[in-house]
Symmetry: C2
Subunit: 339 residues, 2 copies
């Protein structure tokens, strides 16, 4: 049956916010069932041959294919590697599916493949298997990619949104909003010279550095589509806890702040591709923060808030002026086709 409020798919259904969740809740979950899918993390934890694996997939439809700081090939590697890393796993093998549009230059396919291969080597993951399909001109957009990945989850590590607890400290690994603004900065009709590059990067090493300090973490999440705001909302809803964010402690680069002001965007909802949000028991917070800051990808890590027992399922920001505002789950996507 169709969605009651949406007989047809709109762009917002791909935004990673409330409309995406509606698709999952009303269409995919009933159709597919299963306890694993119901956990709804960035990646699934599955057991096979007595071994605990993380398994994840994402498709990539970013426009344009190349943007400051990366390309669809980099995204396709790091996006999936990072989803695996959020369950503590080190990505071991990737699959890659290309959907090519008839007429795209084979040199462009080659550049994307080379970027993908280089990103895989940088992340220490092997491209194990692949597939290519071609669709007629006018039924694609140059190149769409899908990757799926698998990796081992270390013993004793159990990272899930459901594990957030009141008293946890909320840490973000660095400045937010760079990926979304970098892609926007080169979109047709939206050019504005902000000199910003995507933060697209593989987070496996940073996660291992954190786990070396303590395996007693509760949640890791990479705030991609929907940004930090969507990630915190999903965690709050999954664990039935409240989250309080101190706005003045959220690291927003001046160019991101400027671009967001100009375009009417909230940096909390802008996509990141090389950042993570950690929910850490207070007793480990300083040690985890130190470990993150000692890693190149966590040099500007900051405590941005805390998990509380009040207002379960709700994220509240304390503004710089001392007020509070609710940070809702975004409905659709303020920036379509950002990944």
């Amino acid at each position: 049956m169709p969605l009651r409020d949406h007989p047809r798919v709109v762009m917002g259904h791909g935004g990673g916010g409330a409309m995406s969740a509606e698709l999952v809740e009303h269409i995919f979950a009933p159709a597919f069932g299963g306890p694993v899918l119901a956990a709804l993390g960035d990646s699934a934890a599955v057991t096979l041959g007595g071994v605990r694996l993380a398994f994840s997939t994402d498709s990539y439809v970013v426009r344009p294919l190349f943007f400051p700081g990366g390309s669809i090939g980099d995204l396709a590697v790091n996006g999936t590697v990072n989803d695996l890393a959020m369950s503590g796993a080190t990505a071991a093998y990737l699959s890659v599916g290309f959907i090519l549009e008839e007429g795209v230059e084979t040199s462009v396919v080659g550049r994307v493949a080379e970027a993908l291969g280089a990103a895989a080597r940088a992340a220490g993951v092997e491209v194990a298997t692949g597939d290519t399909k071609v669709v007629e001109a006018g039924h694609g957009d140059g190149i769409y990619l899908n990757t799926a990945g698998i990796g081992l989850i270390p013993a004793g590590v159990d990272l899930r949104p459901q594990r957030a607890r009141p008293g946890d400290v909320v840490i973000v690994s660095g400045p937010i909003g760079l990926h979304g603004v970098a892609v926007l900065s080169v979109r047709e009709g939206l050019e504005f010279g902000v000199g910003i590059e995507s933060d697209c990067a593989p987070l496996g090493g940073l996660v291992q550095a954190i786990l070396a300090v303590t395996p007693d973490l509760h949640v890791l999440r990479d705030p991609t589509r929907g940004g930090v705001g969507a990630a915190l909302n999903e965690i709050a809803a999954a664990a039935g806890v409240g989250v309080v964010v101190e706005e003045r402690r959220v690291p927003v680069p001046p160019q991101v702040a400027g671009a967001c002001a100009m375009l009417g965007l909230d940096p909390l909802y802008v996509a990141n591709e090389g950042k993570l949000v950690a929910f850490v028991p207070r007793v480990h917070a300083e040690a985890v923060l130190d470990a993150m800051r000692a890693h190149p990808l966590g040099a500007d890590a900051a405590i941005i808030g805390a998990c509380v027992a009040e207002h379960p399922g709700m994220v509240v920001a304390r503004t710089a002026l001392g007020g509070t505002r609710v940070v809702d789950l975004p409905v659709g996507e303020q920036l379509p086709r950002i990944c």
Copy 2:
């Protein structure tokens, strides 16, 4: 760099024939590298935590989304389940990626998801993780899907195209060409009432029935894009052996033969989605054939030829008239977007 003969992608690059191989050889393999990808089977055999896994992916762009005998949802499950089965593995977990086109009815998304879920239950595989992206109207075709799958490879089983040996008997599990003709029969402008249904089905059970007779098989391959002709050519090339096919022993249903005659197609190159080709040491051939015939999906299994030391890399058909002809690797794809 671009492909010398093809500065732009054409439909044939997605056909699973020589042009697809050119993309892999000149663009993907150099970019991705790696010993696993180089094996180029239907699925990759990888080791993780001491466990041997099959890992495979395919994207699905079939047009129309629903066809006699199945849908893109059935294909997305069975295509990947079957790729895993060809290495002897039973599919355990699937990932699913949806690329939706803005404007597609959510009821259609629901029907595809339900078909996918039902096919997964029938194949005994769990949908563990998923992703949805949306692209603007005019940049997709309703629904594109990707699935990736993982499954355990049983101890002692080593199925690879490279293992074909002279003396092997070539068995096909049943009548060929049904999927391709069924999809064609409902394509715009190509309607012809042949009353044929796709053979789309999960082959894991049939493969386990074969392995119960003997693990000493050499190659299993599901002849999808490019049909039996492409599958045999890939095996001949990978193993450096020749293959001889007895045309009169190839099970071609009359409606498939009729449709192919009308459209100028060769049934050997038409896609199947519920068939396998097995290369079996002669000593086990009768036992394997009996086991296949005892299974509903192998009831019409037949020995269609043999592997020979002569003409390495080449597939030759003995015609009903006693002549011979070379069965080349197809260049592109006679039927685009069949899967």
